[in-house]
Amino acid sequence: MLMSEKLSPSEPAETTAASAAEQVPDWLSNRLRRMFADVMDEPVPEEFKKLLKQLEEKERGA
């Protein structure tokens, strides 16, 4: 189910052992994490809980 993807010649791979912390400045990585966390902090909509409940009941009934 994984989608295959070939490397493009226009994408030279970096051979250095740069870490994310070295690649991305703190102000940017902090802000990315904050943006991501803001969404994570939102309550999960009821529709997801219903969906998971249905799957659970389906499994129990199987």
């Binding site: 994984l2 791979a13 912390a21």
Partner: protein, 190 residues
């Protein structure tokens, strides 16, 4: 039965991260939630393929990403958001300077090619290692690094030189994981 209950429990715990990753990819909250629903259903249908002990978060991200690309192929082209309409729907209240800057970042992200956007988000926001992000995107680790480098350069260009000056207004989010994880890629369980 207990194994399936545990699987659902773990999926439930990862829903917030899935919703955030989906929103990062498409920039549209409603569309992101549709992607997450599809992801949950596909994960459940293919749960036998998941190897216990491997990284469930990375596995679910892979499924969500595939759902996203599949949807794009259906549409035949990627729907751009030049006016930032979708990006502006990201639930950020404009009652704080730092929040305003987050909104700018959210909009700028949507101007990146999706392959750069996902690489940046996976490594810098979700806390996946380079190797895990490479697995999710089905590319080499070096490709992830080069995409992140281009994304970084483009974001700095889009946000302007002043962007870094508001760093102090945006606190580090501890809940997103140990920053050391970004330095030392790990493998293993979810």
């Amino acid at each position: 039965m207990a194994g399936q209950d545990l699987f659902l429990e773990q999926v439930t715990e990862l829903l917030p991260a899935l919703r955030a990753f989906g929103r990062s990819l498409c920039g549209d909250p409603a569309r992101a939630d549709d992607l997450v629903q599809d992801t949950v259903l596909k994960a459940w249908t293919n749960r036998e393929q998941f190897q216990s002990g491997s990284n469930l978060k990375a596995w679910l991200f892979t499924i969500l990403r595939n759902c996203y690309y599949s949807e794009l192929r259906h549409r035949k082209f990627e729907i751009e958001d030049p006016e930032g309409v979708c990006a502006a729907q990201v639930a950020i209240s404009p009652d704080h300077d730092a929040k305003l800057h987050l909104r700018d970042l959210s909009r700028a992200l949507q101007h990146l090619p999706v392959d750069q956007r996902e690489a940046l988000i996976l490594v810098c926001a979700t806390g996946l290692s380079y190797e895990e992000a490479a697995d999710v995107c089905q590319v080499a680790v070096g490709t992830i690094k080069s995409r992140i480098a281009r994304a970084r350069d483009r974001l700095v260009e889009l946000l302007g030189e002043d962007a870094a000056q508001v760093t102090e207004a945006v606190p580090v989010v501890e809940s997103m994981g140990d920053p050391e994880k970004l330095r030392a890629p790990t493998t293993g369980g979810a």
